[in-house]
Each structure stands twice: as C-alpha cells, then as structure tokens.
C-alpha cells in the first residue's frame, strides 16, 4: 500500500541501523509519547536493531491508559442514567474502573455503544431524538479536532441531545510535567507524529531550549522510527538539541491550521487529571461556555465515589516511564489481554499489551 510498504523496506532499515550504530557513542535514553510508537517499536523489533547504547522507554502516550480512573468512573455513572446512550471508542469498554467497567454496565442493562468515529455518535443522536447521547471524548491533539468538529456539527444540525464528556488532553504540557519531575532522565524525545500533524513543531520548542532535550517528530512505519532515532542520536552526540521533523510527508511546522482553528473555537485549555501523574496544569481541553449545552459535565450531574486503583497494578509507573511492564509482578502471570488488571493491558496502544504481544526476552528488556 502506498505510503506504507515503502517505509517497511528491509534494506533501507539495515542502512539506517548501520548509520545509528556508527554515530552512537554515548549511552542515552529516549522516550516515545505515543501509543502508536510503543506498538510499532515492539512489533517491528526496533530495540534489536539499535545499538545497546540507545535505550527506549514508553511514556504517557496511550489515550485510554492516561484517562484517570475518576473520569472513567464518571463515564460509567453516566451510562447508568435513564434515557442515556453512552458512546465510546472501543478500547475504553474493557478498562476496569474503581467498582465496575463500561462492559459491566452494559451487561447490567446500560446502553453503551462502541463507535469508530464521532460521526457515528452523531448518527446515533440523530436516530434517537428521545434519548441523550453522550460521547466519551478521550484522545490527544490528533483526536480533539474530530471531537470539536462533532460539537460544531451538532450545533449546526440543532442536535440538542448530543453531549461530549470532554477528556481530551495536550501532549507538550505532560512532557513538561515529566521533565520537571526528573523521575526519569531523558536525552531525547520521539515526538508523536499524528499529534504533530495537528499542532506542528512549534509547541515543542521549549523542550530543547529549556531542558536541553533533543526532539524529533516521527512517523509510524519502522523506517520512520529508525530515521527519528538516527536524528536524535545525531543531535545528542553533537550536543545540539533542537526540534526536528522526520515525518515531512505528514507534518508541517505550522501543523493543520483548520483543525487548530476548530479546536480553539470549541475548547479552552485547563487542567486535566492523568492516571499515574495526577493533575497537570494546562493539559486538558475543556468545552467553552458557548457550547455548554453539549457539555456532558454541565448537562448531567452524577455522584461519584472516591476512585481506587486496581491492586498491584503498576500502570501509573508504566505511564510515567518509571517502570517497564516487565517490572510489574502481575504482568503475564495474572494480567493478560484476556483478563486485564489495568488499562495498559487493555488498550492495543498500551505498553503492557504491546510487551505482552510482541515482547521477547531480547527486545523487551528494561532500558
């Protein structure tokens, strides 16, 4: 398939791996901030292709995983309200909340439906005018514009029964939060390609400038990731950290103006609650007052008990990059994709699921 097959070529990959090995002298640690990258790195065995000097760690990049348990509990409570149809991306449904899950709510009679797109959620609202349709708006800057577009569409079509529980999050502020905490030392960041399609490269500029950490925006095919690692190693070896794009076919420095405009119209920036990290200032998309009628937080109020995390699950540490899934005692023994204990094993983009599916002793060792 065009734009996919070319970027999986073995000969070109070997060439890049050779170049990285030539350049790399310092022992470094890189972090990827996108579940798509975590998945691709494990799937294609990228760890085995790069020299031992280059360590790869997964960060908070899986949208389902970073959703705070308290927010999931609220979604589950909303699903139980009479007259509500709760719509969600598929991965959310199996994530254990404090006391239940969306799947369990569905089994208990709540109307919970999986959608692939906000367009499907709008369609359900149109077809069920007597019901209230709530969409769980999780995701990063890649997905937030599609949520914004659905709210504008609902307003245009006067779909008064459509509501969004806005849980979308911003990436650069959580990078800042992790760097400020100093818990995991990093030399470079594999910046998320599809987030950057929307926001461009400018929002990352403070990272090399204020933290001296190299930043390269990467695509998702194996060659894209190797090219990104090569550029990161080059910056670090030279001691010249900056923000570079290694995904030129998709990302422009200014991002997608139209998408940003829609997001700015619909959302304002506020704090957000991240699993394993807590409240991060300026990291959440909140709906502006003028779209209040579509805001599930304003339209409905549900009592939610204090949240609690699954016992023994180290998802929080995994999300911060403070631990790899292999350091969790439950990994593979108790916690599996069939019987997941935490969200990092549920979502196909979660680090635990990726390690479970593709990890072999050589390519999944801690780094």
């Amino acid at each position: 398939m065009k734009f996919i097959d070319e970027y999986q070529d073995n000969k070109l990959a070997k060439g890049l791996a050779w170049q990285i090995a030539q350049r790399s002298t310092k022992t470094i640690r890189l972090m990827e901030f996108c579940g798509g990258h975590t998945h691709a790195i494990l799937r294609h065995g990228i760890r085995q292709l790069v020299p031992e000097t280059v360590g790869l760690r997964s960060g908070p990049g899986c949208p389902v995983c970073v959703t705070a348990t308290a927010d999931l509990d609220k979604a589950i409570a909303l699903a139980h309200l009479p007259g509500v149809i709760l719509t969600t991306f598929g991965d959310m449904i199996r994530v254990p909340g404090s006391y239940s899950s969306l799947q369990q709510a569905k089994a208990e009679g709540a109307d919970v439906r999986i959608v692939y797109s906000t367009i499907d959620a709008l369609e359900i609202a149109r077809a069920n005018p007597e019901k209230s349709v709530i969409f769980i708006g999780i995701g990063f800057e890649t997905t937030a514009p599609t949520t914004a577009a659905s709210i504008l569409q609902a307003q245009h079509d006067r779909l008064e029964n459509f509501h969004v529980l806005s849980l979308s999050k911003l990436t650069p502020p959580v990078m800042k939060a992790l760097l400020d905490s100093g818990e995991v030392k990093l030399e470079g960041i594999v910046c998320p390609g599809h987030v950057s399609v929307i926001i461009g490269s400018h929002p990352y500029e403070f990272i090399p400038r204020d933290y001296g950490v190299a930043c390269v925006i990467s695509g998702f095919e194996p060659l894209d990731i190797l090219l990104c690692i090569d550029k990161l190693v080059q910056q670090i070896e030279k001691g010249e950290p900056k923000i570079e794009i290694a995904y030129h076919r998709g990302v422009k420095p200014e991002g997608n103006r139209k998408a940003r405009q829609l997001m700015e119209d619909v959302f304002e920036i506020g704090e957000a609650n991240w699993r394993g990290i807590g409240i991060v200032p300026q990291s959440g998309f909140k709906m502006r007052g003028k779209y209040e009628q579509f805001d599930a937080d304003k339209a409905f109020s549900v009592p939610v008990k204090p949240s609690r995390e699954p016992e023994g699950c180290r998802c929080g540490d995994v999300i911060r990059g403070a631990a790899t899934p292999l350091e969790c005692k439950l990994f593979r023994k108790v916690c599996t994709p069939e019987r997941p204990v935490g969200p990092c094993m549920v979502s196909s983009e979660g680090a635990c699921a990726a390690y479970y599916q593709f990890g072999t002793p050589e390519n999944s060792q801690s780094s």
Partner: protein
C-alpha cells in the same frame, strides 16, 4: 526482519484510535469524500482538510482526514534512505 506479513485491515484500524492511515481520495461531495485503501472504499469527512483534492492521499483518523500527505516530501525521504543504504553497503 520485519513482520511484513502484517497488513492493515479495517478491524485493526478500528482497534487503535490513535492510528492514522493513508487513503486515496476518489471523489468529493461537499465536506465528505469517498476514499480507498487496498481496494476498500470508505466515506470520510474532510472538514479538517478543506484543501484535499481528488487523487490526494490523506491521513485518515477516526473517520476524518487530518492531513494531506506530501508526495514530494515522501519521495525525498525515500531518496535519503536509499543513499544511507548504499553507503552502508560500501562499508
């Protein structure tokens, strides 16, 4: 080295919400477009990429085209990779 037998299917695309895949635009009707990938047709919204034209490849994410892929840049990157590969063969 890579698991090249791996092919994207719609089931996989639906699975991973932060995934975006390149699809080709075959026709446009207002802010909707008919797209194709590996013989599979799908209607997508182009509200986020009003500049998209017939014949363009766009990145499709949860039902929306989020970016028009730059063909010239894609070829440029591949050329660079070819050069690195031939360099590595000399050594």
């Amino acid at each position: 080295m890579f698991r090249l037998s791996y092919r994207l299917t719609w089931a996989k695309i639906r699975d991973a919400m932060c995934l975006a895949v390149p699809v080709k635009i075959v026709s446009i009707d207002g802010d909707q477009a008919e797209t194709e990938i590996a013989g599979v047709k799908r209607r997508v919204s182009i509200v986020l990429t009003p500049e998209a034209k017939i014949g363009d490849y766009v990145l499709l994410h949860t039902g929306y085209a989020i970016s028009v892929l730059d063909q010239a840049e894609a070829e440029e990157t591949l050329k660079l990779l070819e050069e690195i590969a031939s360099l590595s063969e000399i050594h």
